[in-house]
């Protein structure tokens, strides 16, 4: 059970090798030695991640197999994760995602779309069903500012995030009054392995910063959080830039 000040007893990370997902789990498990379940395509490759979480204060770390594209299995995976927790799931972090060929129109474009959007819709609904039965819980969805206004440079990736961002906002509204909350996280450029080798954008941030802001927003009961927060203001302007100008934004 999440306590009165937002400390949690259990976290499930869908996309167990995601750096942002792990950083958020690490931040969440600190207060009460929470149980963390990492769900990923190759559970046996999550050893280092598990060790890191134990070091961060997790009481216990379990792994389960999860494939974002195998949508038919998502309810079962969430049930397995709940069984691994051995009690209620307080937070589900939807952290999986693909950037693809720099987010542009490569051969893997449909794979990016299927993973980031279809997979997220399916996993998000499965998580919602589990948490509704419990009568409480939170879903943290890792979106991106790339979806706020899609850019030429990574429009396949950006459009998939635009879709999942909208989906999770709607999911949050749909779940209002059920005891289940949804938090949409919109980081800017984060220095992770996904962006390794790319030139950092201005206002680049770190996984730890994203995690700290996410947990703070979760405790405040907010629906959306931008990291760094100034991006929210910046995108009010970006959203209204004329297209010929927007097209020229570099990167």
């Amino acid at each position: 059970m999440r306590d009165g000040l937002g400390a949690v007893g259990s976290v499930v990370v869908l996309g167990g090798s995601s750096e942002l997902g792990l950083a958020i789990a690490a931040e969440l498990c600190r207060d009460r030695h929470a149980t963390v379940v990492l769900a990923g395509r190759r559970p046996d490759a999550l050893g280092a991640a598990s060790a890191r979480l134990v070091g961060a204060g997790a009481g216990r770390v379990e792994t389960v197999a999860f494939d974002a594209l195998d949508t038919a299995s998502h309810d079962r995976v969430l049930a397995e994760a709940a069984a691994a927790v051995g009690g209620d799931v307080d937070v589900v972090v939807v952290a999986f995602g693909l950037l693809g060929a720099s987010g542009g129109p490569g051969e893997d474009a449909t794979l990016v779309a299927a993973t980031n959007y279809v997979g997220a819709v399916s996993a998000g609904l499965a998580a919602a069903r589990l948490l509704r039965r419990q009568g409480h819980g939170a879903i943290v969805a890792l979106s991106s500012v790339a979806g706020e206004r899609v850019r030429k440079a990574n429009f396949v990736y950006g459009s998939s995030k635009a879709g999942m961002d909208g989906f999770f906002q709607g999911l949050g509204d749909w779940l209002a009054g059920t005891g289940v909350e949804v938090l949409v996280v919109r980081p800017g450029f984060v220095r992770t392995k996904m962006t390794a080798g790319m030139k950092p954008a201005p206002l680049a941030t770190t996984a730890e910063r994203v995690a700290a802001e996410t947990v703070r927003a979760l405790r405040a009961g907010r629906g959306v959080v931008w990291v760094p927060p100034v991006l929210r203001l910046l995108f009010i302007i970006f959203r209204h830039l004329p297209r010929p100008l927007w097209r020229r934004v570099p990167g």
Partner: protein
């Protein structure tokens, strides 16, 4: 009739959804219990527990307030038999004119009898009168394992004391017979003293407690330095008829408190901050005369000052607040001082804290009071770092042999439950007899695994 509803405690911090069932007749409780699913059932009264004791995420919640009948009043023995959903407010409005007063009333009249037993509540008279449970002569409890049982402290002491203070986890309380005290008037004669610091407050309470039925101190937790712990100490007794001025002597037992004020439905999140609260505390302290003697106030004003403002909990805004109440044994006064010091140093926006000296404990394994000092603090949940601050207080309290109050708790570290309540194992044995399948569940019992 059942509906899905979002329920929270009085502190409004961690709401969860449950199927709410509202029995209309006492005989329906067995059916309510039989209909509960795998996420179990908990009883709920007026929702005055600050934390998550009366909510049950994904399960069933029996809203007991429909069962509020006063079954029998025996003026000869000063006992009353009531259904568990009746509030103390209702009881007082009916019984005060007959010259009866509940021996124990908490800081609000808006608690049900069932809730008062399940939390084994205490009041300003604990040093002499003990807890609410100590005045229950018998109660009928519908248990999942053994069906309806009549429990008394003499015939079934284990089951009785597992239910008193048992946070509703032994079954649904259907009705109870309570011994009241007799009063001549509905007024309290109050001596109050403005003290300079915490040491003076405690010394005064040690010296004067035994001479007065009621005693409490309001501590300004924002005062620092030499004024650390400055307080208004109050000592009260039921006024005799002769104490009243002539105009009140004709209707000495009139009890019609008006609770006409209502907090606005919405308050800005930071309304109660260190500056507004400090100003309030300062005013409260300054407006009190240095010393009064035999000042007459209505019983409702003395016992239930906050009841005048309905839904005052909303003033803490959307994020709500936590109440932190702990007790430490006599001789551990230093723990109290360190907590007050730490709050003052951090400038935590704590409204006047309530300090009281407890008397003897009762046999209930999960009952909160034990001899020593208790301090209760209201703190906005949004204070940065509040979680770790209170975790630190817990450590000090546990180390001093003290405990926190489960009816107020919303955030205790689960590992500390058994340290603070060494009788937990004993309680679990009795609970396992009354509820072997663990049908009775609440968010509190899930959060603190030791109660499950």
């Amino acid at each position: 009739m059942s509906t899905a509803e979002l329920l929270a405690g009085w502190g409004r911090t961690a709401p969860s959804a449950a199927t709410v069932v509202a029995p209309e007749r006492p005989g329906e409780l067995e059916a309510v219990m039989a209909a509960a699913g795998e996420r179990g059932l908990i009883g709920r009264g007026l929702g005055r527990s600050y934390g998550d004791a009366a909510q049950n995420a994904g399960g069933s919640v029996a809203l007991m307030t429909g069962l509020d009948g006063i079954v029998d009043v025996d003026l000869g023995s000063a006992t009353v038999t009531v259904e568990a959903g009746a509030s103390l407010d209702r009881l007082m409005r009916v019984l005060v004119p007959l010259g009866l007063w509940p021996a124990v009333t908490p800081g609000t009249r808006y608690v049900t009898i069932g809730g008062a037993i399940a939390s084994d509540v205490h009041g300003k008279g604990h040093h002499l009168d003990g807890t609410f449970g100590s005045h229950v002569r018998s109660m009928e409890v519908v248990t999942p394992g053994k069906g309806p049982m009549t429990l008394t402290p003499h015939a079934t002491p284990e089951e009785f004391w597992a239910t008193a203070g048992g946070m509703g986890l032994t079954g649904l309380i259907r009705r109870a017979t309570i011994e009241m005290i007799r009063i001549d008037t509905a007024m309290i004669s109050v001596d109050s003293v403005r003290t300079a610091d915490l040491e003076a407050t405690m010394a005064l309470m040690v010296e004067r407690d035994r001479h007065h039925r009621y005693s409490v101190a309001w501590v300004d937790c924002l005062a620092r330095g030499a004024s650390l712990g400055r307080s208004i100490a109050e000592f009260g007794d039921h006024a005799a008829r002769d104490d009243l001025p002539p105009r009140l002597r004709t209707r000495p037992l009139e009890f019609r408190p008006s609770d006409s004020l209502r907090a606005p439905p919405w308050a800005p999140p930071g309304l109660l901050n260190r500056w507004t609260v400090a100003a309030f505390n300062e005013l409260w302290y300054r407006k009190a005369p240095p010393r009064t003697k035999g000042h007459l106030v209505g019983a409702a004003t003395f016992f239930h000052p906050l009841d005048r403002v309905a839904e005052w909990n909303r003033m803490y805004g959307r994020r709500g607040f936590v109440q932190y109440q702990f007790v430490v044994p006599d001789g551990q006064e230093d723990t109290v001082r360190r907590v007050v010091e730490s709050l003052a140093r951090r400038r935590c926006a704590s409204f006047l804290a309530v300090l009281k000296r407890f008397g003897e404990a009762n046999p209930a394994p999960l009952s909160f009071p034990r001899p020593g000092w208790t301090l209760a603090l209201d703190l906005p949940a949004g204070i940065e770092g509040l979680g770790s601050l209170l975790d630190g207080f817990d450590e000090k309290v546990a180390e001093a042999g003290g405990r926190v109050y489960l009816a107020k708790d919303s955030r205790l570290r689960p590992e500390l439950l058994e340290v603070m309540y060494p009788g937990l194992g004993r309680w679990r044995e009795v609970r396992d007899r009354l509820d072997p399948e663990r049908l009775m569940q609440s968010d509190l019992s899930r959060r603190l695994g030791g109660l499950a």
